[in-house]
Symmetry: C2
Subunit: 346 residues, 2 copies
């Protein structure tokens, strides 16, 4: 391949981990009483390489693209909803817009390949590979060259962004199908278990979707590597996200993974650079059934389980204050010694 992928070093550092654990254990609370918030604090300390980790200028990146497979009726919504929702993100009326505003997350929307010609404006980056992917049931969703271009776009995007935390969001009618296909192929899962209702198919619709995806898998039986599978199944927004994940991982940014579709970008990136997942925090577990399998394949435990299935980065935004809390626990809580609090009596 022509694309040069970043180097992703291990962040394992037993000495730092020991110091972080010591700090946590001496905060004014019973040992381990902050539960998973402590594990999160430890993880963030390791990613940022600091005993006093501070998250700066968090970036919510919503990558959007259209899918040729959508014409085969895999979604409850028409493809036009992709560009309409991009407009909604930019106008501030979508869930992710509202939540990003609440938490002070800089929101950037990226047209990675929407079937629409957007007017340039603040908050929108046009990195369109094509007006939607090709129909994956008839051939590859994109060429390998397109796939690499999208990944390169994602890498370049992150290089330009400030801060040390990246929140992943996406939009694309039909992209839960691409995610199911990628999960089935790259994690060796049965396609039925990977396939849910997406934006809200009924039982009959879901059955049709499953039958079609099984067919698509068979068409691309030889697409076994991460990049081959990504090219075969799409989409441009997932490929762009793969690039953002790789670049963020190289730079040791904290990567806040959203739902099912965003998580497949991590799965692909992890297939290319196996230490990517060390930098990832799983924001939530989606109600989309494949997400549980996908998080398990990545070894990530979600912070929230609220039966959400919206995408856009909404789950990542919702979990964001927990990351902030974990850092503040490390930075701001007193120790038994500094606060003059007695230790346990046994």
């Amino acid at each position: 391949m022509t694309l040069e992928l970043p180097t992703v070093e291990s962040i394992d550092d037993p000495a730092l981990a020991g110091r972080l654990q010591h700090l946590l254990d001496h905060k004014t609370k019973p040992l381990g009483a902050l539960g998973r918030l402590e594990a999160l604090a430890l993880r963030l300390g390791l990613i940022l390489g600091s005993e006093a980790p501070a998250l700066t200028a968090p970036q919510m990146l919503v990558c959007a693209g259209d899918h040729g497979l959508a014409a085969r009726g895999v979604s409850a919504y028409p493809s036009d909803v992709t560009w309409q929702m991009v407009e909604n993100f930019l106008a501030g009326g979508a869930a992710v817009s509202v939540l990003a505003r609440q938490h002070g997350l800089a929101l950037t929307v990226v047209d990675c390949g929407v079937r629409h010609d957007f007017e340039a404006r603040e908050g929108l980056l046009v990195r369109r590979i094509a007006f939607g992917t090709a129909d994956a049931s008839a051939g590859p969703a994109m060429s390998l060259a397109q796939c690499e271009r999208a990944i390169a776009n994602g890498m370049a995007l992150v290089r330009e962004l400030p801060g040390n935390a990246l929140l992943l969001g996406e939009m694309g009618i039909g992209n839960s199908s691409a995610a199911s296909l990628l999960l089935a192929r790259l994690a060796g899962q049965d396609i039925d278990a990977c396939t849910g209702s997406g934006t809200g198919l009924d039982a009959a619709g879901r059955a049709r979707k499953r039958a079609l995806l099984r067919e698509v898998l068979a068409v691309h039986a030889d697409a076994a590597t991460p990049l081959a599978a990504l090219s075969a199944f799409g989409g441009f927004e997932i490929a762009t996200l793969v690039g953002t994940v790789l670049q963020a991982a190289e730079e040791r940014r904290v990567i806040v993974v959203d739902g099912f579709i965003a998580s497949t970008a991590v799965l692909v990136a992890q297939g290319l650079r196996p230490r990517v997942v060390q930098r990832c925090v799983a924001a939530h577990e989606s109600a989309e059934p494949g997400h549980r399998l996908l998080l398990a394949a990545l070894g990530l435990e979600p912070l929230l389980k609220l039966d959400m299935r919206l995408g856009e980065g909404s789950g990542a935004a919702l979990a964001w204050p927990l990351l902030e809390s974990a850092c503040r626990i490390l930075r701001e809580m007193a120790s038994f010694e500094s606060a003059g609090v007695s230790q346990r009596g046994d």
Copy 2:
């Protein structure tokens, strides 16, 4: 009894509930895609009686008290830790101090009966009934008159506080024992199932605690009503919290319930005024095993499950942004119509 309890009207309002559901269903997202955040938005709309609910001046109230039973070795920490932690809350170094600061929650610490004479200062209210409760294994933890005075204190406290949301916190070495006893008695649960490690007893300590609590239950076999049980088992901080819950319920404030001990205050208040729980949001499920049983008894589903077991209001503070998000979804998200987004195609 001499204490006059507030009237707690039902907040059931099918017309408002219908309007809220209609609003949620027409926001730019697949039907129900925000999962439990939508149920939370509906609940907050009903509590605040508004289609555009807004949380104002949220109050974190940390009620502290000491327990005579602590002398019997039910905690891994000495009783002095109660007043030392009160100092830590006020100095800003405790978990709840850090999290309240993060989320702009006004923090008030109430000495409801700590075994210590505090200097008056900003952020501390002294509403001490006595220097700790009596040993519940030898007689009632408090008299009925003391119990009613603590409840009245709690009611008066909330009347003076601004805003429309109350977050419950507590501190008191030994108070997980009081909570286990209240849960066992008022919800008819086996005391062993209600009793955990508290601040971190080992297996032997937990076995001793269980044996002792079984004994205490037997001593107060006739303490069957909410107030009789509360007087028998204590503590002053729980009784004061009962008053805050009742007053907040009458005023239709949103009550954000923290962990195991704070939840027992709701259980008692609910026993006195059965519509209290309509106003409650369960922030999290504690790792303390009784909490799951207690939330089930109250019919509340926790927002977070992060294996925390600290108390102080730390879980309530951590969940707070989710309540804020739920309100913003209702107030700020666009509808399909206003955003010009196509509806589902089927």
